[in-house]
Amino acid sequence: MHMADPLLSPAVGCTMWAASAGTIAYCSAKVRREPDERKVPLMGVLGAFLFAAQMINFSIPATGSSGHLGGGLLLAVLLGPTAAYLTIASVLVVQALFFADGGLLALGCNMFNMGFIPAFIVYPLIYKKIAGNNPTRMRLTLAIMVSAIVGLQLGPFGVVLETLFSGISALPFSTFALLMQPIHLAIGVVEGLVTVAVVSFVQKARPEIIRDARPIGNRPVRSVVLAFLVVALFTGGFVSLFASKNPDGLEWAIAKATGKEELPAPADGIHTALAAVQEKLAFMPDYTFRKSADAEDVKKRPGGEKDAGLGTSVAGIIGGMMALAIAFLSGLILKKRPGRTG
């Protein structure tokens, strides 16, 4: 499941972006130093393979629905964590740009949920531990099934946490988690079965592919996880510092965590200036601008409540409609001209 831009606050988005970009830089450096040059085209083509594989569905018995391969775990098994992470990240970039799937700001989150988790958490801690170095068929199947299920529980949990910290959706944490986790348990089982089917086919046809799959470098995993944490903490700290200085600009998760619903407080500099101009012109001298749009504040003065709410919302709605009309008109007007020249 792709995390989407509109559910994300800039603070969370930027933090995850920085951390994921740092991981890309680390993995790129590792891949560059890789002596086996064949990895370069292999990664590119296997990324494209995921797109092709997702076009082919299979029917899930007894449910009437169909499923397809996700592929994160398959790539980790075939390529090892560093190359798999880069490949998944590149697939996500293409999806974000061409299908607007996820979104550009959410890319960092998605790279973490669908790339970092399978490649750097599930692969070394679960898959490798169960499968060992020279896995038998049983061990391989077991390792893949468990890894797929765990990976598809952690990934969606990442989505839940990122949404929670962003505080854009009003969904309570437990409700969202209860919605996401059981669905992804089923998806995880399906993903595990598909990956097992493909890997065991490859193991039969060309066993050396599975046998030779090994991570690049000696112990990349621990240092990558550490680096990821450091970058995330650093940017998180930096961004929250910035956020606390500009509470109007960036809504930070604390507001949501304390249960207070942040209500917008429009910057009043230009509003008061405009109010002054209007008062001078006396178009509507008793027009009330919402200086601080606090719910309590409005409640305290029941007499003025309606006027205040009405005034601002009517102006806002009319203005919004006008802004939309201007946007589309300017589009129409500009459209005519280059149509002939271009």
């Binding site: 989407a4 590119g44 880069l86 979104g103 009003a170 969904l171 619903e261 409540e305 280059p338």
Partner: protein, 270 residues
């Protein structure tokens, strides 16, 4: 079956849009990438109850689509495909958040509805911005811009490789899918067993293709960089484009342009 191929025809269409020759297409990709980033961050940074302030942001997609000569209906259709996720998550806002937030006349609008609509508007704006960026820039140019702005070269090469082979492999995938479709009746033959070996074969062919590509690369003296035809320059036009739009976005972020416009209008009308 038609839909599978349809999806990727769509994909190619978006790619083809980037070959346009308008003033927007001619700009340095870096300027377009940066403006899109500023746009998305400003849109996303709005709080959950801010709706009217978001609407003026439609000026950017409208103007760029017009100047870049992008087919409006096509972009709208593509955006409509990705809205459901935001719709599903946002739909629950009106249920959980019933505190009345705005009164319009005698109508009380709960905060949940405002935040729901705000999420959908944000989804439209951000998805639209991403598609428009590809439509007026093209994927290879975006990769080049990102590389010049500090993206590691290995990742840039990975992206370009991926991009080149998506078209080849998706065609192969749709051929495989069609062949199986023709041989299976209803859902028979589409089960897990044939699926596993089908995909496995596709994977092995892909693997062999990678080996051939590697040999071809060696034969042509690949040194780890792709060379591009277009050489862009970050000139005065790019600076004006970047500063102009960024200033507008930041202004619209700090001040509710709808509110200003509306209060001016209502002021004049009364």
């Amino acid at each position: 079956m038609g839909t599978i191929e349809g999806t990727f025809l769509d994909f190619k269409d978006l790619d083809r849009l980037a070959t346009g020759d308008t003033a927007i297409h001619g700009l340095d990709p870096r300027a377009k990438v940066l403006v899109t980033v500023v746009f998305i961050v400003s849109v996303v940074s709005f709080g959950r109850y801010e709706l009217t302030a978001l609407l003026p942001f439609f000026i950017f997609p409208a103007v760029i689509m017009a100047l870049g000569n992008l087919p409006v209906f096509y972009i709208v259709k593509k955006v409509a495909v990705v809205i459901p996720f935001a719709l599903v998550v946002g739909m629950l806002n009106p249920i959980f958040d019933r505190q009345v937030y705005v009164h319009v006349g005698t109508l009380d609008i709960p905060g949940g509805w405002i935040s729901f609509v705000s999420i959908v508007v944000k989804a439209v704006l951000t998805a639209g911005a991403a598609l428009i960026l590809v439509g007026v820039t093209g994927f290879p140019a975006i990769c080049m811009a990102l590389e010049k702005m500090g993206m590691p070269q290995a990742f840039a090469i990975q992206l370009l490789f991926l991009y080149r082979y998506i078209f080849v492999l998706t065609e192969e995938g749709s051929r495989v899918s069609r062949a199986r479709e023709l041989r299976s009746f209803g859902n028979r033959g589409k089960g897990m067993q044939s699926y596993g070996s089908l995909l496995g074969h596709l994977l092995l062919r892909t693997w062999q293709r990678a080996e051939r590509i590697h040999m071809a690369m060696l034969a042509r003296g690949f040194t780890g960089a792709f060379h591009a035809r277009h050489l862009y320059r970050f000139g005065r036009r790019e600076v004006v484009f970047l500063l102009g739009w960024s200033t507008l976005f930041i202004f619209m972020r700090l001040h509710n342009a709808s509110q200003l416009l509306g209060s001016l209008a209502t002021g004049i009308l009364r």
